[in-house]
Symmetry: C2
Subunit: 206 residues, 2 copies
């Protein structure tokens, strides 16, 4: 009874603390078994207060997903904005996404599931993520076209081609379906598939 308030005066802001606890809960027990009441209890507050930070359970799930998605997106952006040839950047972006997804699938299956669900249901958070990645790829594509590195007549079609040809390696649902294929094999196939697609982009006739 020496500590009626076990919650330390954490340096993080309250919403981040809730987010962390929720993520941990999902990691350990899965999304299905998470309740706002339990998270509030762990955070040492009334459950009603949690709603001051997250308007609903779904919003909390979205925030947990988003928190993981952010580094994936910033990796993309960093690669896209680096002063490297567009050709290399495009390859790096796609491979980076594939690696990030697969990492999460293996290290945090439950949270990856959350992301997949969001994706399958066409939730806003998943759509926005997709849009942000798309816009980074588009930038690199345009940059490469301007620099004469890519021979692209129709930007829209080229963008679609990138997503179509690399779909197996960029779609969370696909990656989850391949969870039993050894990782090394999928990585190799991703590399080869992307490299060939890039060759198409480089050598025109899109």
């Amino acid at each position: 009874m020496s500590e009626p308030k076990p919650a330390p005066p954490s340096a993080e802001s309250v919403d981040l603390r809730i987010l962390d606890l929720a993520a941990d809960h999902v990691r350990r027990f899965g999304a299905a078994r998470l309740t706002i009441v339990a998270v509030a209890r762990e955070a040492g507050m009334s459950h009603g207060n949690v709603y001051r930070y997250f308007p609903s359970k779904e919003a909390l799930f979205d925030a947990v997903t988003e928190q993981w998605l952010k580094p994936v997106e910033s990796d993309c952006r960093r690669i896209a904005e680096a002063p490297d040839p567009a050709f290399d950047k495009l390859e790096r972006i796609i491979v980076s996404i594939h690696r990030s997804y697969r990492d999460k699938l293996e290290s945090d299956a439950e949270i990856f599931d959350l992301f997949c669900r969001s994706f399958e249901e066409g939730r806003t958070i998943a759509r926005k993520h997709r849009t942000r990645i798309q816009s980074e790829i588009q930038k690199v594509l345009e940059e490469g076209t301007g620099g004469g590195m890519f021979e692209i007549a129709d930007q829209r079609r080229a963008l679609a081609l990138v997503f179509d040809a690399a779909y197996r390696f960029m779609s969370p649902v696909s990656i989850r379906l391949d969870r039993n294929v050894p990782r090394g094999q999928m990585d190799g196939r991703c590399d080869r598939c992307v490299r060939l697609m890039l060759r198409i982009l480089a050598s025109g006739k899109i």
Copy 2:
């Protein structure tokens, strides 16, 4: 009370009749709401008798799925065995699969769902279907390599590339995810993506 036995002396054999009734049930109410008892009732027999033809409900579902899968596979085989250039045959096979899947998704979503589930769960029936398609594609690939139409050093890798690059258009789960994208658009993207992949196969460096 004039017809205590409404079941006509159908020309089909009993197992086909059961299969048809089951498929119809799935079509109308979805797989979740199908019961062996209900199918037996519709077939005008005791439910125990259905087990003489199908050892379990799953087996019945598999049979329903398989019945639809057969024409897809025989289309593939017919294309593969035709006396046409390997290049064209490969294109036709992939496009044909994509069209068949998408047709089924639109005309018979519930049965397509059955197939997707089988696929996601890695059931034998789905794996065999995949293997059969794979072997047809492999044949065409080998034929094209022998005839000098494709420049392929590593058959295994080439086969993987075909499946990877066309994944979005050959995986039932992916196709279902794209159900809201207009069909015409997906068809066009499939055609272009496949055509570009074929160009890679033709112009070597795999």
